[in-house]
Symmetry: C2
Protein backbone atom coordinates (compact mmCIF):
# COMPACT_ATOMS: atom_id res chain seq x y z
CA UNK A 1 0.00 0.00 0.00
CA UNK A 2 1.15 3.56 -0.65
CA UNK A 3 0.65 7.00 0.97
CA UNK A 4 -2.34 7.67 -1.30
CA UNK A 5 -4.13 4.60 0.06
CA UNK A 6 -3.25 5.39 3.68
CA UNK A 7 -4.50 8.94 3.20
CA UNK A 8 -7.85 7.67 1.91
CA UNK A 9 -8.05 5.15 4.74
CA UNK A 10 -7.41 7.83 7.38
CA UNK A 11 -9.80 10.34 5.85
CA UNK A 12 -12.56 7.72 5.88
CA UNK A 13 -11.93 6.08 9.25
CA UNK A 14 -14.22 6.78 12.21
CA UNK A 15 -13.94 6.03 15.94
CA UNK A 16 -10.39 4.75 15.77
CA UNK A 17 -8.09 3.24 18.34
CA UNK A 18 -4.35 3.44 17.85
CA UNK A 19 -2.42 0.54 19.35
CA UNK A 20 1.13 0.87 20.70
CA UNK A 21 3.51 -1.92 21.68
CA UNK A 22 4.08 -3.20 25.21
CA UNK A 23 7.03 -1.75 27.16
CA UNK A 24 6.29 1.45 25.23
CA UNK A 25 9.11 3.62 23.93
CA UNK A 26 9.38 7.08 22.44
CA UNK A 27 8.70 5.89 18.92
CA UNK A 28 5.51 3.92 19.50
CA UNK A 29 4.09 6.68 21.74
CA UNK A 30 5.42 9.55 19.63
CA UNK A 31 3.89 7.97 16.52
CA UNK A 32 0.59 7.14 18.19
CA UNK A 33 -0.02 10.53 19.79
CA UNK A 34 1.05 12.40 16.65
CA UNK A 35 -1.44 10.37 14.62
CA UNK A 36 -4.08 10.77 17.33
CA UNK A 37 -3.71 14.56 17.22
CA UNK A 38 -3.87 14.70 13.44
CA UNK A 39 -7.01 12.54 13.35
CA UNK A 40 -8.67 14.47 16.18
CA UNK A 41 -7.95 17.69 14.28
CA UNK A 42 -10.04 16.16 11.47
CA UNK A 43 -12.91 15.90 13.97
CA UNK A 44 -12.61 12.16 14.53
CA UNK A 45 -12.93 10.29 17.83
CA UNK A 46 -9.60 8.59 18.49
CA UNK A 47 -7.88 6.92 21.43
CA UNK A 48 -4.42 5.56 22.01
CA UNK A 49 -4.07 2.24 23.84
CA UNK A 50 -1.10 0.59 25.50
CA UNK A 51 -0.98 -2.71 27.34
CA UNK A 52 1.35 -1.23 29.94
CA UNK A 53 -0.51 2.03 30.48
CA UNK A 54 1.03 5.45 30.13
CA UNK A 55 4.30 5.86 32.05
CA UNK A 56 4.91 9.30 33.59
CA UNK A 57 8.19 9.45 31.67
CA UNK A 58 6.18 10.10 28.48
CA UNK A 59 3.56 12.43 29.93
CA UNK A 60 4.77 15.30 27.74
CA UNK A 61 3.64 13.27 24.71
CA UNK A 62 0.20 12.22 25.87
CA UNK A 63 -1.09 15.07 28.03
CA UNK A 64 -4.72 15.55 27.09
CA UNK A 65 -4.52 12.55 24.78
CA UNK A 66 -4.57 9.59 27.18
CA UNK A 67 -6.28 6.49 25.89
CA UNK A 68 -9.29 4.96 27.57
CA UNK A 69 -10.58 1.61 26.48
CA UNK A 70 -14.11 2.46 27.55
CA UNK A 71 -14.45 5.73 25.71
CA UNK A 72 -15.29 4.44 22.28
CA UNK A 73 -16.31 1.26 20.58
CA UNK A 74 -13.70 1.29 17.81
CA UNK A 75 -14.75 0.96 14.21
CA UNK A 76 -11.16 1.17 13.06
CA UNK A 77 -7.98 -0.25 14.58
CA UNK A 78 -4.55 1.13 13.71
CA UNK A 79 -1.26 -0.29 15.00
CA UNK A 80 1.92 1.84 15.00
CA UNK A 81 5.45 0.54 15.45
CA UNK A 82 4.18 -2.98 16.25
CA UNK A 83 6.03 -5.63 14.23
CA UNK A 84 4.13 -8.62 15.62
CA UNK A 85 0.85 -9.20 17.50
CA UNK A 86 2.75 -10.74 20.42
CA UNK A 87 4.27 -7.29 21.04
CA UNK A 88 0.84 -5.84 21.83
CA UNK A 89 0.95 -7.27 25.35
CA UNK A 90 -1.65 -9.10 27.39
CA UNK A 91 -4.03 -6.18 27.94
CA UNK A 92 -4.46 -5.76 24.19
CA UNK A 93 -5.00 -9.50 23.62
CA UNK A 94 -8.37 -8.78 21.97
CA UNK A 95 -6.52 -7.15 19.07
CA UNK A 96 -4.17 -10.09 18.53
CA UNK A 97 -6.62 -12.28 16.64
CA UNK A 98 -6.49 -12.39 12.86
CA UNK A 99 -8.19 -9.52 11.13
CA UNK A 100 -8.50 -7.39 14.25
CA UNK A 101 -6.13 -4.70 13.03
CA UNK A 102 -7.15 -2.70 9.96
CA UNK A 103 -3.94 -0.77 9.33
CA UNK A 104 -0.37 -1.16 10.56
CA UNK A 105 2.28 1.51 10.03
CA UNK A 106 5.78 0.39 10.94
CA UNK A 107 9.50 0.55 10.15
CA UNK A 108 10.61 -2.92 11.31
CA UNK A 109 11.82 -5.18 8.53
CA UNK A 110 10.64 -8.08 10.72
CA UNK A 111 6.99 -6.92 10.48
CA UNK A 112 4.72 -9.98 10.30
CA UNK A 113 2.00 -8.35 8.12
CA UNK A 114 -0.73 -9.38 10.55
CA UNK A 115 -2.96 -6.42 9.70
CA UNK A 116 -5.44 -6.17 6.83
CA UNK A 117 -3.27 -3.42 5.38
CA UNK A 118 0.37 -2.85 6.24
CA UNK A 119 2.78 -0.07 5.36
CA UNK A 120 6.39 -0.80 6.33
CA UNK A 121 9.34 1.40 5.45
CA UNK A 122 12.30 -0.61 6.69
CA UNK A 123 14.69 2.14 5.57
CA UNK A 124 13.11 4.64 7.97
CA UNK A 125 14.92 5.35 11.25
CA UNK A 126 11.61 5.38 13.12
CA UNK A 127 7.89 4.90 12.59
CA UNK A 128 7.54 8.58 13.53
CA UNK A 129 9.63 9.43 10.46
CA UNK A 130 7.21 7.45 8.26
CA UNK A 131 4.31 9.39 9.79
CA UNK A 132 6.05 12.73 9.34
CA UNK A 133 6.47 12.02 5.64
CA UNK A 134 2.87 10.82 5.45
CA UNK A 135 1.58 14.00 7.13
CA UNK A 136 3.55 16.13 4.68
CA UNK A 137 2.08 14.12 1.80
CA UNK A 138 -1.41 14.57 3.28
CA UNK A 139 -0.75 18.30 3.74
CA UNK A 140 -2.21 18.25 7.26
CA UNK A 141 -1.21 20.85 9.80
CA UNK A 142 1.65 19.80 12.09
CA UNK A 143 1.42 21.89 15.24
CA UNK A 144 4.21 22.18 17.82
CA UNK A 145 2.87 19.38 20.01
CA UNK A 146 2.53 17.00 17.06
CA UNK A 147 6.02 17.98 15.95
CA UNK A 148 7.29 17.18 19.47
CA UNK A 149 5.75 13.71 19.27
CA UNK A 150 7.35 13.05 15.89
CA UNK A 151 10.73 14.45 17.00
CA UNK A 152 10.67 12.25 20.11
CA UNK A 153 10.04 9.13 18.04
CA UNK A 154 12.93 9.86 15.70
CA UNK A 155 15.32 10.96 18.45
CA UNK A 156 14.67 7.99 20.74
CA UNK A 157 14.90 5.32 18.04
CA UNK A 158 18.23 6.71 16.80
CA UNK A 159 19.76 7.24 20.26
CA UNK A 160 19.60 10.97 19.54
CA UNK A 161 21.04 10.60 16.03
CA UNK A 162 23.93 8.53 17.39
CA UNK A 163 23.29 5.06 15.98
CA UNK A 164 23.88 3.44 12.61
CA UNK A 165 20.15 3.68 11.74
CA UNK A 166 20.31 7.51 11.63
CA UNK A 167 19.67 8.58 8.05
CA UNK A 168 19.95 11.75 6.03
CA UNK A 169 16.13 11.88 6.13
CA UNK A 170 16.16 11.63 9.94
CA UNK A 171 18.42 14.69 10.22
CA UNK A 172 16.39 16.65 7.65
CA UNK A 173 13.17 15.80 9.50
CA UNK A 174 14.76 16.86 12.80
CA UNK A 175 15.82 20.17 11.23
CA UNK A 176 12.26 20.82 10.01
CA UNK A 177 10.64 19.68 13.26
CA UNK A 178 12.84 21.77 15.57
CA UNK A 179 12.10 24.79 13.39
CA UNK A 180 8.44 24.29 14.42
CA UNK A 181 9.32 25.10 18.02
CA UNK A 182 9.85 21.62 19.48
CA UNK A 183 11.45 21.98 22.95
CA UNK A 184 14.01 19.39 21.92
CA UNK A 185 16.63 20.14 24.60
CA UNK A 186 14.21 19.44 27.44
CA UNK A 187 12.79 16.40 25.60
CA UNK A 188 16.31 15.02 25.14
CA UNK A 189 17.26 15.70 28.76
CA UNK A 190 14.19 13.74 29.81
CA UNK A 191 14.71 10.89 27.33
CA UNK A 192 18.49 10.52 27.55
CA UNK A 193 20.00 12.21 30.61
CA UNK A 194 17.58 11.75 33.51
CA UNK A 195 17.80 8.60 35.63
CA UNK A 196 15.66 7.45 38.54
CA UNK A 197 17.23 7.12 41.98
CA UNK A 198 16.95 3.36 41.74
CA UNK A 199 18.51 3.33 38.28
CA UNK A 200 21.48 5.27 39.70
CA UNK A 201 21.74 2.69 42.49
CA UNK A 202 21.46 -0.27 40.12
CA UNK A 203 24.24 1.13 37.92
CA UNK A 204 26.35 1.74 41.01
CA UNK A 205 25.92 -1.88 42.08
CA UNK A 206 26.70 -3.07 38.56
CA UNK A 207 29.88 -1.03 38.18
CA UNK A 208 31.12 -1.93 41.66
CA UNK A 209 30.99 -5.57 40.53
CA UNK A 210 32.76 -5.16 37.21
CA UNK A 211 35.55 -7.65 36.49
CA UNK A 212 38.17 -7.41 33.75
CA UNK A 213 39.95 -10.33 32.06
CA UNK A 214 42.39 -10.91 29.20
CA UNK A 215 44.07 -7.53 29.55
CA UNK A 216 40.77 -5.68 29.62
CA UNK A 217 39.37 -7.26 26.43
CA UNK A 218 36.62 -9.03 28.38
CA UNK A 219 34.58 -7.34 31.06
CA UNK A 220 31.94 -9.06 33.11
CA UNK A 221 29.36 -7.99 35.66
CA UNK A 222 27.87 -10.67 37.91
CA UNK A 223 24.59 -9.85 39.66
CA UNK A 224 23.56 -12.48 42.20
CA UNK A 225 20.08 -12.96 43.69
CA UNK A 226 21.51 -11.81 47.01
CA UNK A 227 22.80 -8.57 45.46
CA UNK A 228 19.42 -7.85 43.88
CA UNK A 229 17.52 -8.60 47.08
CA UNK A 230 19.83 -6.45 49.21
CA UNK A 231 19.51 -3.54 46.80
CA UNK A 232 15.78 -3.20 47.29
CA UNK A 233 15.36 -2.57 43.56
CA UNK A 234 13.15 -4.72 41.32
CA UNK A 235 14.95 -7.58 39.58
CA UNK A 236 13.73 -6.20 36.24
CA UNK A 237 15.56 -2.94 36.90
CA UNK A 238 18.80 -4.85 36.44
CA UNK A 239 17.87 -5.65 32.83
CA UNK A 240 19.18 -2.31 31.59
CA UNK A 241 22.78 -2.82 32.66
CA UNK A 242 23.78 -5.15 29.81
CA UNK A 243 25.23 -2.21 27.87
CA UNK A 244 27.68 -1.27 30.66
CA UNK A 245 30.46 -3.91 30.27
CA UNK A 246 30.86 -3.23 26.52
CA UNK A 247 31.01 0.54 27.13
CA UNK A 248 34.50 0.29 28.63
CA UNK A 249 37.40 1.36 26.39
CA UNK A 250 39.35 -1.60 25.06
CA UNK A 251 36.62 -4.14 25.80
CA UNK A 252 35.78 -6.47 22.88
CA UNK A 253 33.23 -8.58 24.74
CA UNK A 254 31.04 -7.44 27.62
CA UNK A 255 29.06 -10.03 29.57
CA UNK A 256 26.36 -9.48 32.16
CA UNK A 257 25.60 -12.54 34.29
CA UNK A 258 22.33 -12.40 36.20
CA UNK A 259 21.36 -15.16 38.61
CA UNK A 260 17.91 -16.65 37.97
CA UNK A 261 17.65 -19.78 40.09
CA UNK A 262 19.97 -21.13 42.75
CA UNK A 263 22.04 -22.84 40.05
CA UNK A 264 21.09 -21.02 36.86
CA UNK A 265 22.59 -17.87 35.43
CA UNK A 266 21.42 -15.83 32.45
CA UNK A 267 24.09 -14.26 30.25
CA UNK A 268 23.72 -11.11 28.13
CA UNK A 269 26.66 -10.92 25.76
CA UNK A 270 27.61 -7.77 23.84
CA UNK A 271 30.54 -7.54 21.43
CA UNK A 272 32.33 -5.09 19.17
CA UNK A 273 32.26 -5.97 15.49
CA UNK A 274 35.27 -8.29 15.73
CA UNK A 275 33.43 -11.02 17.68
CA UNK A 276 30.17 -12.85 16.91
CA UNK A 277 28.14 -12.81 20.13
CA UNK A 278 25.51 -15.24 18.82
CA UNK A 279 28.25 -17.77 17.93
CA UNK A 280 29.62 -17.45 21.47
CA UNK A 281 26.18 -18.03 23.01
CA UNK A 282 25.41 -20.99 20.74
CA UNK A 283 28.09 -22.90 22.63
CA UNK A 284 25.80 -22.70 25.66
CA UNK A 285 22.59 -23.39 23.74
CA UNK A 286 21.62 -19.75 23.27
CA UNK A 287 21.65 -17.35 20.35
CA UNK A 288 20.81 -13.86 19.12
CA UNK A 289 22.46 -11.24 16.96
CA UNK A 290 26.09 -10.66 15.96
CA UNK A 291 26.68 -7.95 18.56
CA UNK A 292 24.03 -8.87 21.16
CA UNK A 293 23.11 -12.39 22.21
CA UNK A 294 22.16 -14.42 25.26
CA UNK A 295 22.14 -17.85 26.87
CA UNK A 296 21.73 -19.65 30.18
CA UNK A 297 24.40 -21.64 32.03
CA UNK A 298 23.78 -23.99 34.96
CA UNK A 299 26.12 -24.57 37.88
CA UNK A 300 27.34 -22.66 40.89
CA UNK A 301 28.82 -19.24 40.24
CA UNK A 302 32.44 -20.41 40.19
CA UNK A 303 31.59 -23.10 37.64
CA UNK A 304 29.67 -20.64 35.48
CA UNK A 305 32.49 -18.10 35.59
CA UNK A 306 34.94 -20.88 34.74
CA UNK A 307 32.92 -22.02 31.71
CA UNK A 308 32.67 -18.45 30.42
CA UNK A 309 36.38 -17.73 30.83
CA UNK A 310 37.39 -21.06 29.29
CA UNK A 311 35.41 -20.36 26.13
CA UNK A 312 36.35 -16.67 26.04
CA UNK A 313 40.00 -17.67 26.29
CA UNK A 314 39.73 -19.27 22.86
CA UNK A 315 38.55 -15.95 21.43
CA UNK A 316 41.34 -13.97 23.06
CA UNK A 317 44.08 -16.38 22.08
CA UNK A 318 44.81 -17.75 25.54
CA UNK B 1 35.45 40.09 8.14
CA UNK B 2 33.40 37.93 5.80
CA UNK B 3 33.81 34.60 3.98
CA UNK B 4 35.22 36.40 0.92
CA UNK B 5 38.05 37.86 3.01
CA UNK B 6 38.76 34.55 4.77
CA UNK B 7 38.88 32.79 1.41
CA UNK B 8 41.46 35.27 0.11
CA UNK B 9 43.44 34.97 3.31
CA UNK B 10 43.53 31.18 3.10
CA UNK B 11 44.36 31.11 -0.61
CA UNK B 12 47.32 33.41 0.02
CA UNK B 13 48.65 31.95 3.27
CA UNK B 14 51.85 29.87 3.28
CA UNK B 15 53.45 27.64 5.93
CA UNK B 16 50.60 27.85 8.37
CA UNK B 17 50.10 26.53 11.88
CA UNK B 18 46.61 25.97 13.17
CA UNK B 19 46.24 26.41 16.92
CA UNK B 20 43.74 24.48 19.01
CA UNK B 21 42.71 25.12 22.61
CA UNK B 22 44.10 23.33 25.66
CA UNK B 23 42.12 20.35 27.00
CA UNK B 24 41.22 19.75 23.36
CA UNK B 25 37.71 18.63 22.41
CA UNK B 26 36.06 17.33 19.27
CA UNK B 27 35.29 20.79 17.94
CA UNK B 28 38.74 22.37 18.22
CA UNK B 29 40.39 19.21 16.77
CA UNK B 30 37.67 18.54 14.22
CA UNK B 31 37.90 22.13 12.99
CA UNK B 32 41.70 22.20 12.97
CA UNK B 33 42.23 18.92 11.12
CA UNK B 34 39.47 19.69 8.60
CA UNK B 35 41.13 23.04 7.84
CA UNK B 36 44.56 21.39 7.79
CA UNK B 37 43.39 18.86 5.19
CA UNK B 38 41.77 21.51 3.00
CA UNK B 39 44.90 23.69 3.07
CA UNK B 40 47.21 20.72 2.44
CA UNK B 41 45.04 19.79 -0.53
CA UNK B 42 45.90 23.23 -1.89
CA UNK B 43 49.56 22.23 -1.69
CA UNK B 44 50.36 24.28 1.41
CA UNK B 45 52.54 23.21 4.36
CA UNK B 46 50.34 23.19 7.44
CA UNK B 47 50.54 21.83 10.97
CA UNK B 48 48.09 21.60 13.83
CA UNK B 49 49.36 22.42 17.33
CA UNK B 50 47.90 21.71 20.74
CA UNK B 51 49.36 22.55 24.12
CA UNK B 52 48.21 19.22 25.50
CA UNK B 53 49.36 17.06 22.62
CA UNK B 54 47.13 14.70 20.69
CA UNK B 55 45.11 12.35 22.91
CA UNK B 56 44.56 8.84 21.54
CA UNK B 57 40.81 9.43 21.91
CA UNK B 58 40.95 11.71 18.86
CA UNK B 59 43.36 9.66 16.76
CA UNK B 60 40.70 9.05 14.09
CA UNK B 61 40.73 12.82 13.42
CA UNK B 62 44.46 13.42 13.23
CA UNK B 63 45.94 10.25 11.76
CA UNK B 64 48.54 11.38 9.24
CA UNK B 65 47.96 14.97 10.24
CA UNK B 66 49.74 15.24 13.62
CA UNK B 67 51.27 18.60 14.37
CA UNK B 68 54.98 19.06 14.95
CA UNK B 69 56.33 22.39 16.13
CA UNK B 70 59.66 21.79 14.50
CA UNK B 71 58.41 20.94 11.04
CA UNK B 72 57.83 24.44 9.76
CA UNK B 73 58.62 28.00 10.70
CA UNK B 74 55.13 29.41 10.42
CA UNK B 75 54.46 32.42 8.26
CA UNK B 76 50.80 32.35 9.14
CA UNK B 77 49.05 31.52 12.42
CA UNK B 78 45.39 30.50 12.53
CA UNK B 79 43.42 29.83 15.74
CA UNK B 80 40.25 27.73 15.66
CA UNK B 81 37.66 27.54 18.45
CA UNK B 82 39.90 29.57 20.81
CA UNK B 83 37.94 32.39 22.45
CA UNK B 84 40.86 33.80 24.46
CA UNK B 85 44.66 33.53 24.37
CA UNK B 86 44.69 32.06 27.89
CA UNK B 87 42.92 29.01 26.44
CA UNK B 88 45.94 28.19 24.28
CA UNK B 89 47.74 26.61 27.21
CA UNK B 90 51.32 26.93 28.41
CA UNK B 91 52.99 25.09 25.53
CA UNK B 92 51.58 27.58 23.04
CA UNK B 93 52.60 30.59 25.16
CA UNK B 94 54.58 32.01 22.25
CA UNK B 95 51.30 32.61 20.39
CA UNK B 96 49.67 34.45 23.27
CA UNK B 97 51.39 37.78 22.70
CA UNK B 98 49.58 40.53 20.84
CA UNK B 99 49.64 40.20 17.09
CA UNK B 100 50.88 36.60 17.11
CA UNK B 101 47.68 35.19 15.62
CA UNK B 102 46.74 36.27 12.11
CA UNK B 103 43.27 34.75 11.86
CA UNK B 104 40.83 33.39 14.40
CA UNK B 105 37.71 31.42 13.43
CA UNK B 106 35.35 30.78 16.31
CA UNK B 107 31.75 30.45 17.48
CA UNK B 108 32.06 31.69 21.08
CA UNK B 109 30.24 34.95 21.76
CA UNK B 110 32.87 35.55 24.45
CA UNK B 111 35.67 35.72 21.84
CA UNK B 112 38.22 38.38 22.88
CA UNK B 113 39.19 39.43 19.34
CA UNK B 114 42.89 38.94 20.12
CA UNK B 115 43.79 38.05 16.53
CA UNK B 116 44.57 40.46 13.70
CA UNK B 117 41.45 39.22 11.95
CA UNK B 118 38.57 37.44 13.66
CA UNK B 119 35.50 35.70 12.31
CA UNK B 120 32.97 34.74 15.00
CA UNK B 121 29.55 33.27 14.31
CA UNK B 122 27.98 33.10 17.77
CA UNK B 123 24.83 31.54 16.29
CA UNK B 124 26.76 28.51 15.05
CA UNK B 125 26.53 25.31 17.12
CA UNK B 126 30.24 24.65 16.56
CA UNK B 127 33.31 26.14 14.94
CA UNK B 128 33.26 23.09 12.65
CA UNK B 129 29.88 24.28 11.35
CA UNK B 130 31.39 27.68 10.50
CA UNK B 131 34.17 25.92 8.60
CA UNK B 132 31.74 23.64 6.77
CA UNK B 133 29.84 26.67 5.52
CA UNK B 134 33.11 28.36 4.63
CA UNK B 135 34.31 25.33 2.65
CA UNK B 136 31.04 25.24 0.73
CA UNK B 137 31.44 28.96 -0.03
CA UNK B 138 35.04 28.35 -1.17
CA UNK B 139 33.88 25.38 -3.26
CA UNK B 140 36.76 23.21 -2.04
CA UNK B 141 36.49 19.44 -2.11
CA UNK B 142 35.29 17.91 1.16
CA UNK B 143 36.49 14.30 1.25
CA UNK B 144 35.18 11.68 3.69
CA UNK B 145 37.95 12.26 6.24
CA UNK B 146 37.39 16.03 6.21
CA UNK B 147 33.64 15.41 6.52
CA UNK B 148 34.34 13.16 9.54
CA UNK B 149 36.34 15.95 11.20
CA UNK B 150 33.54 18.47 10.62
CA UNK B 151 30.83 16.03 11.74
CA UNK B 152 32.78 15.28 14.93
CA UNK B 153 33.06 18.98 15.77
CA UNK B 154 29.33 19.55 15.33
CA UNK B 155 28.28 16.34 17.10
CA UNK B 156 30.53 16.82 20.13
CA UNK B 157 29.67 20.49 20.72
CA UNK B 158 25.93 19.74 20.59
CA UNK B 159 26.08 16.58 22.73
CA UNK B 160 25.07 14.64 19.62
CA UNK B 161 22.29 17.09 18.67
CA UNK B 162 20.88 16.89 22.19
CA UNK B 163 21.52 20.33 23.65
CA UNK B 164 19.82 23.70 23.27
CA UNK B 165 22.60 24.94 20.94
CA UNK B 166 21.59 22.45 18.24
CA UNK B 167 20.28 24.43 15.27
CA UNK B 168 18.44 23.69 12.05
CA UNK B 169 21.75 24.35 10.28
CA UNK B 170 23.52 21.79 12.48
CA UNK B 171 21.04 19.06 11.48
CA UNK B 172 21.21 20.03 7.79
CA UNK B 173 25.01 19.97 7.92
CA UNK B 174 24.92 16.56 9.63
CA UNK B 175 22.58 15.26 6.91
CA UNK B 176 24.97 16.46 4.20
CA UNK B 177 28.10 15.23 5.97
CA UNK B 178 26.81 11.73 6.71
CA UNK B 179 25.80 11.42 3.06
CA UNK B 180 29.53 11.80 2.31
CA UNK B 181 30.24 8.51 4.04
CA UNK B 182 31.20 9.66 7.54
CA UNK B 183 31.33 6.59 9.85
CA UNK B 184 29.19 8.52 12.33
CA UNK B 185 28.01 5.55 14.41
CA UNK B 186 31.54 4.50 15.32
CA UNK B 187 32.56 8.13 15.87
CA UNK B 188 29.61 8.64 18.20
CA UNK B 189 30.29 5.42 20.08
CA UNK B 190 33.85 6.63 20.65
CA UNK B 191 32.87 10.19 21.58
CA UNK B 192 29.78 9.48 23.70
CA UNK B 193 29.51 5.84 24.82
CA UNK B 194 33.01 4.61 25.61
CA UNK B 195 34.43 5.19 29.07
CA UNK B 196 37.85 4.37 30.48
CA UNK B 197 38.15 1.81 33.27
CA UNK B 198 39.09 4.57 35.69
CA UNK B 199 36.14 6.70 34.56
CA UNK B 200 33.83 3.77 35.33
CA UNK B 201 35.45 3.49 38.77
CA UNK B 202 35.22 7.22 39.47
CA UNK B 203 31.51 7.23 38.57
CA UNK B 204 30.98 4.21 40.77
CA UNK B 205 32.63 5.97 43.71
CA UNK B 206 30.59 9.10 43.03
CA UNK B 207 27.23 7.31 42.85
CA UNK B 208 27.95 5.18 45.90
CA UNK B 209 28.31 8.46 47.83
CA UNK B 210 25.17 10.17 46.57
CA UNK B 211 22.95 11.76 49.22
CA UNK B 212 19.36 12.99 48.78
CA UNK B 213 17.67 15.76 50.76
CA UNK B 214 14.37 17.67 50.74
CA UNK B 215 12.37 14.79 49.31
CA UNK B 216 14.88 14.19 46.53
CA UNK B 217 14.93 17.80 45.32
CA UNK B 218 18.58 18.21 46.34
CA UNK B 219 21.22 15.60 45.64
CA UNK B 220 24.81 15.86 46.77
CA UNK B 221 27.98 13.89 46.18
CA UNK B 222 30.87 14.42 48.59
CA UNK B 223 34.32 13.33 47.45
CA UNK B 224 36.94 13.52 50.19
CA UNK B 225 40.74 13.52 49.75
CA UNK B 226 40.80 10.10 51.36
CA UNK B 227 38.28 8.74 48.84
CA UNK B 228 40.31 10.10 45.93
CA UNK B 229 43.58 8.73 47.30
CA UNK B 230 42.13 5.28 47.98
CA UNK B 231 40.67 5.11 44.48
CA UNK B 232 44.05 5.32 42.80
CA UNK B 233 42.56 7.65 40.16
CA UNK B 234 43.89 11.13 39.48
CA UNK B 235 42.14 13.93 41.39
CA UNK B 236 41.36 15.61 38.06
CA UNK B 237 39.40 12.55 36.94
CA UNK B 238 36.78 13.48 39.52
CA UNK B 239 36.10 16.78 37.72
CA UNK B 240 33.68 15.13 35.31
CA UNK B 241 31.19 13.94 37.90
CA UNK B 242 29.51 17.32 38.48
CA UNK B 243 26.74 16.40 36.04
CA UNK B 244 25.72 13.27 37.98
CA UNK B 245 23.70 14.72 40.89
CA UNK B 246 21.49 16.84 38.58
CA UNK B 247 20.85 13.84 36.31
CA UNK B 248 18.56 12.21 38.89
CA UNK B 249 14.82 12.45 38.27
CA UNK B 250 13.14 14.98 40.53
CA UNK B 251 16.37 16.74 41.49
CA UNK B 252 16.24 20.55 41.20
CA UNK B 253 19.74 21.20 42.53
CA UNK B 254 22.72 18.86 42.26
CA UNK B 255 25.87 19.63 44.23
CA UNK B 256 29.27 18.01 43.97
CA UNK B 257 31.54 18.73 46.94
CA UNK B 258 35.22 17.98 46.37
CA UNK B 259 37.74 18.33 49.16
CA UNK B 260 40.74 20.52 48.29
CA UNK B 261 42.63 21.19 51.54
CA UNK B 262 42.14 19.72 54.96
CA UNK B 263 39.45 22.34 55.69
CA UNK B 264 38.43 23.58 52.26
CA UNK B 265 35.80 22.15 49.94
CA UNK B 266 35.01 23.13 46.37
CA UNK B 267 31.36 23.07 45.30
CA UNK B 268 30.04 22.53 41.77
CA UNK B 269 26.37 23.45 41.71
CA UNK B 270 23.99 22.49 38.87
CA UNK B 271 20.32 23.42 38.78
CA UNK B 272 17.22 23.00 36.65
CA UNK B 273 15.75 26.21 35.27
CA UNK B 274 13.77 26.96 38.44
CA UNK B 275 16.83 27.79 40.56
CA UNK B 276 19.67 30.27 39.94
CA UNK B 277 22.90 28.40 40.72
CA UNK B 278 25.07 31.52 40.54
CA UNK B 279 22.84 33.25 43.08
CA UNK B 280 23.22 30.26 45.40
CA UNK B 281 27.02 30.29 45.05
CA UNK B 282 27.27 34.06 45.57
CA UNK B 283 26.22 33.42 49.17
CA UNK B 284 29.55 31.64 49.59
CA UNK B 285 31.58 34.16 47.58
CA UNK B 286 31.43 32.23 44.32
CA UNK B 287 29.55 32.67 41.05
CA UNK B 288 28.98 31.38 37.55
CA UNK B 289 26.01 30.81 35.30
CA UNK B 290 22.30 30.34 36.01
CA UNK B 291 22.42 26.56 35.77
CA UNK B 292 26.08 25.89 36.59
CA UNK B 293 28.11 27.71 39.22
CA UNK B 294 30.76 27.12 41.85
CA UNK B 295 32.24 28.29 45.13
CA UNK B 296 34.49 27.26 48.01
CA UNK B 297 33.48 26.71 51.62
CA UNK B 298 35.84 26.34 54.58
CA UNK B 299 35.31 24.18 57.63
CA UNK B 300 35.24 20.51 58.43
CA UNK B 301 32.94 18.34 56.36
CA UNK B 302 30.04 18.41 58.82
CA UNK B 303 30.17 22.21 58.98
CA UNK B 304 30.31 22.48 55.19
CA UNK B 305 27.38 20.09 54.74
CA UNK B 306 25.47 22.05 57.39
CA UNK B 307 26.05 25.38 55.63
CA UNK B 308 24.92 23.94 52.30
CA UNK B 309 21.76 22.38 53.72
CA UNK B 310 20.88 25.51 55.69
CA UNK B 311 20.98 27.70 52.60
CA UNK B 312 19.35 25.07 50.38
CA UNK B 313 16.52 24.78 52.91
CA UNK B 314 15.52 28.36 52.05
CA UNK B 315 15.16 27.38 48.39
CA UNK B 316 13.11 24.30 49.15
CA UNK B 317 10.81 26.02 51.60
CA UNK B 318 12.05 24.33 54.75
Amino acid sequence: MDFKEIKEFLLNCEDAVILTHKSPDGDTFGSAFALCRVLRNMGKRVNVLCSDGFPERYSFLYEGCEGDNTLIEPKCVIAVDIADVTLMGKNLACYQQEGAVDLCIDHHISNKHYAKKTYVDAQASATALVLYELFKYMEVEIDTQTASCLYTGIATDTGCFKYENTTVKAHIAAAELISMGVPFASINRRMFDLKSQSRIMVEQIATSNIEYYFGGKLSMIVITKELMQNSGAEDSEFDGIASIPISVEGVKMGITVKQRGSHTYKLSVRTTDEIDASQFCKNFGGGGHIRAAGCEISGDLDEVRGKILELAGKYFGV
